[in-house]
């Protein structure tokens, strides 16, 4: 059991039984390609869930279609493998009608941002109590290698032999623009960071969007390599920590500062006035800084890519508001009387 407050799980029944990762594994053979980043994420989720101490039967994984969406079959909880792109909408029905459930959505960059873009933004704006894990590998895997909405422009794939022409989406920017109350980015291969982000997402009341940079070793191998390679990651990755200056680089020599025009830039620490170095706060009411940070990364080179929780603010969840509205009406009007309802006010009697 964790010491942190978990308003997002306040109504989910707990168990005193000791759980382990093994309790969350099913007897189904995992059918991802050997070497797929999904294995690491599955292991991290199965390893992390026991610490929440929830009754397993009150956890539900809902997915759409795609490689990542096979996830529910491997979790010994309740689960629904649904329709391409629709998981956020589908899971909304469960979160709204069953406050005693911890509802997780597993999706990918094609599923969430292409065919399901509409559902994703509406779940975020409503702040439904869902934890959305978006596995971003910048490619379509299950359909065997077409470019995705997060692929970099110019991507050569089976459907774009001359290079893709589409400009790419940035999942964190989209989520922030869609009024998300919790937005984070993490890496499939960084178990510790991934687990910490999952922990905060689980605790959050409302929609938590977690972008997990995930490697498809078959169709887009090494897509995030500069962020993972021990030789380069310190220079490329910006780890956001609440209350800390935003610093990175092998010798922590690079900082993020406010530029003159109100924008933010990366600078050498010894070349700037220390008072201009940004101290990060994921709880800031204004999403401006979080959005600016989401724009920092270079789409192609991946230089200056922040990871961590960009935004974590309290806003009543949609499902709570729905519940309170229903309960409020029952309290003020009394429970419904079906006979009175169907008889209406304008009726007459024939004897």
């Amino acid at each position: 059991m964790t010491a942190i407050e978990m308003p997002g799980l306040a109504l989910v029944p707990r168990t005193d039984e000791k759980q382990s990762a093994k309790d969350f594994k099913t007897d189904q053979e995992v059918r991802w390609c050997p070497g797929c980043g999904d294995y690491a994420i599955l292991a991290a989720v199965q390893g992390f869930l026991p610490e929440l101490g929830l009754r397993r039967e009150n956890i539900v994984f809902v997915s759409g279609i795609g490689c990542s969406s096979r996830f529910p079959y491997y979790m010994d909880t309740y689960g629904v493998h649904s329709i391409h792109g629709r998981a956020p909408a589908i899971a909304t029905g469960l979160a709204v009608s069953r406050p005693d459930l911890s509802v997780w959505v597993v999706t990918g960059d094609g599923d969430a941002l292409s065919i399901g873009g509409n559902h994703l933004i509406h779940a975020l704006r409503r702040n439904v109590n869902l934890k959305i894990l978006l596995f971003n590998n910048r490619i379509y895997g299950l359909t065997k290698g077409q470019y995705s909405p997060t692929s970099e422009t110019g991507k050569v794939t089976k459907s774009t032999p001359l290079g893709s022409l589409d400009y790419s989406f940035n999942p964190v920017s989209i989520a922030l623009g869609a009024e998300a109350s919790f937005v984070a980015r993490t890496l499939d291969s960084d178990r510790k960071h991934l687990t910490e982000v999952l922990r905060r997402a689980a605790a959050h009341e409302g929609t938590a969007l977690v972008e997990i940079l995930q490697n498809c070793n078959i169709f887009n191998d090494g897509a995030w390599e500069p962020l993972k390679d021990a030789n380069t990651s310190d220079d490329y990755l910006i780890r956001l920590e609440d209350g800390e200056e935003i610093r990175f680089g092998k010798d922590r020599e690079k900082v993020v500062v406010r530029g003159d025009g109100g924008h933010i830039v990366v600078a050498n620490a010894d070349e700037v006035d220390p008072s201009r170095i940004i101290v990060f706060d994921s709880h800031a009411k204004d999403p401006g800084l979080a959005f600016a940070l989401s724009r920092l990364a270079h789409i192609h080179s991946l230089a200056d890519t922040p990871i961590g929780v960009f935004r974590d603010v309290a806003r009543p969840s949609y499902d709570r508001l729905v519940r309170e509205q229903v309960e409020g009406v029952i309290e003020s009007q009394g429970p419904g009387d079906l006979q009175a309802l169907i008889a209406g006010k304008d009726n007459w009697t024939v004897s």
Partner: protein
């Protein structure tokens, strides 16, 4: 002002009526009893004709008349004023005996402007009455609808009894002492017309006054003006020479009970709430606004004290998706839409077939294809409901036959969905949704119980003898699978749209398993027929050689047509399908016991296609897709022609 003084406003000619002057009424005008009357209120979209019709209907229902109504309005909220596309109409048929339709043709047309006259004149019989608002017959308004000359002056209406009344200016005059603008005064002209018609047909005023007081409780000036306009219309009737007599339609003899007037959409909403109560399952509606289904979400969202959750989703797909998985969580899940919405929901209906979860899919049909005729009725989604999915994906279908019947149809759809763990289509239509009839309010103690029968324990043992849960281990009788909701210990399971192994529900691509699962899903839907009552045939003489088979909202027009046929001395049998998939078990036998089967439909023969395919019966289709219900005289002619050909 009055063109035809002393000419009484008449009664319908389609059904038997006696009309003769009797009592002396106040102001020296006699009251003439009528058997039934069809009135059509027609005006500009902004003239308040739907409200006027609704109010007249409400007081008429309160008087105990049988009635049937047909609102007919354009899809545009306010088309340009005074134009033909902007005409909105409301037809009401009321009687001292039971009637089945809103009437083929009006006996009385109230035309608030030249456009309303022009759009509706073609439906009027010679000799019928037309009340026109002369104030609107200006040169400009006449030109707008292509009248070269004023029809009130050129003799083109000589065949009708025309009552020329300056409705607008008299309303403005009646309200001259009120502190409201001229425009606001003019807007009350529908209340003046309502007052006049209420006087003419001896309708009580109290109900309308009560309604106005509630509607304008926070606008005292507007309230006073509307009441003055309504009373002004009533007084005008009493004093004018335009009407020498007034009429009454006596209450009809009805089965004892409590009655109310009801339109189909609220009845359907009540049926859903009743099904929720009778099953003990909380009601979850996932929906997206679409004409003519939106009134269902409007109605349900007013009744949250029944524990109803209404979710207005971002689109049709989200609406049904949220509903489907609310069902996984143990709600009575519903999605409501019209034909274009069904097209968007098809993939999720397919998933519901695969997941085998209860789900009500309500399609209030409208004219198609595509956006089609949003405010007009049609029955052309039957084959979409039947077949509109990829793969073999059978879905049960039920259809209500009248506005009040939407209540029972909703409960029946819920019974099938919950009992058999399946999506169920309920096919209403625009005519049922917006049309009204008196409805005998059921006693809720008599409503059927629906048993969810949630799974609570394991149903299988694994190779090592340990208990386990198989989500696709079926009930032998119903072939339904167990419904185990999240939160139930020990029954954790995963389901999805991939083919599942028979029993265990694990993903399976095995060819024989797929063949078996496809057949099992079909067999489960077929098995529902065992719980459907046999098809009832109405053949009073027992000598009919021709059967008329219908489904959905054609029940009233077909029934009225059969009465006309029988009155003309012929025998005809009528049967009406509540269940379209599966059909009642005795349908084939019924069809084969008649020499001819006629199937009237507001489509190009969709039920006929199913009947011919399933039973090899050479059914004769009679089809119309005009966005309007069948006229009973038209159908009677068709039936008589077939009968006489034998």
């Amino acid at each position: 002002m009055v063109r035809a003084p002393g000419v009484g406003i008449g009664a319908g000619q389609g059904e038997t009526v006696t009309a003769k002057a009797t009592d002396q009424a106040q102001a020296g005008k006699s009251i003439v009893p009528l058997g039934h009357v069809v009135i059509r209120f027609a005006g500009d979209s902004g003239d308040g004709m739907q409200l006027t019709g609704d109010r007249f209907t409400s007081v008429t229902a309160g008087l105990g008349n049988y009635l049937s109504t047909l609102p007919d309005f354009p899809a545009e909220i306010r088309a340009p004023a005074g134009t033909l596309p902007g005409v909105s109409a409301f037809q009401l048929h009321f009687a001292d005996h039971d009637i089945m339709t809103p009437g083929d043709r009006p006996d009385v047309l109230v035309a608030m402007n030249p456009a309303a006259l022009k759009a509706n004149l073609g439906d009027m019989r010679p000799g019928s009455d037309i009340i026109v608002n002369t104030d609107e017959f200006t040169k400009r308004n006449l030109e707008k609808v292509g009248y070269a000359a004023n029809p009130l002056e050129d003799g083109s209406l000589d065949a009708f009894a025309v009552h020329e009344i300056a409705l607008t200016s008299m309303t403005v005059e009646a309200l001259s002492s009120f502190d409201i603008s001229k425009k606001e005064a003019e807007r009350a002209k529908n209340m003046f017309a309502l007052g006049l018609l209420c006087w003419l047909y001896s309708r009580p005023t109290e109900g309308t006054l009560k309604f106005l007081r509630a509607k304008f409780a926070h606008k005292p000036d507007i309230l006073a003006a509307n009441i003055a306009a309504f009373e002004g219309g009533w007084s005008f009737g009493e004093t004018t020479e335009a009407f020498s007599v007034r009429y009454e339609v006596k209450p009809a003899k009805m089965v004892p009970g409590t009655y109310r007037n009801i339109t189909g959409n609220p009845a359907l909403a009540y049926g859903l709430i009743a099904a929720s109560r009778q099953s003990g399952l909380p009601l979850f509606l996932g929906s997206y606004p679409i004409t003519p289904a939106s009134d269902i979400i409007h109605e349900l969202s007013k009744h949250k004290n029944f524990g109803v959750v209404t979710f207005q989703a971002e689109d049709e797909i989200a609406g049904i998706g949220a509903a489907l998985v609310a069902s996984y969580g143990g709600s009575l899940a519903v999605t409501t839409t019209s034909g274009p919405g069904i097209a968007l929901k098809s993939e999720t209906i397919g998933l519901a077939v695969s997941l085998e979860l209860p789900l009500l899919v309500i399609d209030v049909q409208r004219g198609g294809p595509s956006t089609g005729l949003p405010t007009k009725t049609e029955q052309a989604d039957l084959l979409q409901a039947m077949f509109g999915r990829n793969g073999e994906a059978p879905v049960p279908i039920v259809a209500p036959r009248s506005p009040g019947d939407c209540f029972d149809a909703a409960i029946e759809a819920a019974r099938i969905a919950v009992t058999y763990r399946t999506p169920v289509f309920l096919l209403s239509d625009g005519y049922l949704a917006n049309g009204s009839e008196p409805w005998q309010v059921p006693d809720v103690a008599d409503l059927p119980t629906i048993e969810p029968g949630f799974a609570t324990e394991s149903n299988h043992v694994d190779e090592d003898g340990n208990p386990e849960f198989w989500p696709y281990l079926r009930d032998e009788e119903t072939l339904a699978r167990p419904w185990a909701v999240p939160g139930t210990p020990g029954l954790m399971h995963r389901i999805g749209g991939l083919e599942k192994a028979d029993g265990s529900g694990n993903i399976s691509y095995d060819p024989d398993n797929h063949d078996r699962m496809v057949r099992l899903r079909q067999a489960k839907v077929d098995a529902i027929a065992r719980t459907i009552p046999p098809l009832d045939v109405d053949d009073p003489s027992g000598e009919a050689r021709v059967l008329v088979l219908g489904w959905g909202s054609t029940y009233g027009p077909i029934g009225a047509a059969c009465r006309l046929v029988r009155e003309s001395g012929h025998a005809v049998a009528q049967a009406h399908l509540r269940h379209l998939n599966p059909f009642p078990a005795n349908l084939g036998e019924v069809l084969r016991s008649y020499d001819r089967v006629i199937i009237p439909e507001m489509n190009l023969g969709q039920l006929a296609l199913l009947i011919r395919g399933r039973f090899l019966v050479d059914a004769i289709g009679y089809n119309s897709v005009r966005g309007m219900p069948f006229a009973s005289e038209e159908l009677a002619q068709v039936f008589n022609d077939v009968i006489e050909s034998l």
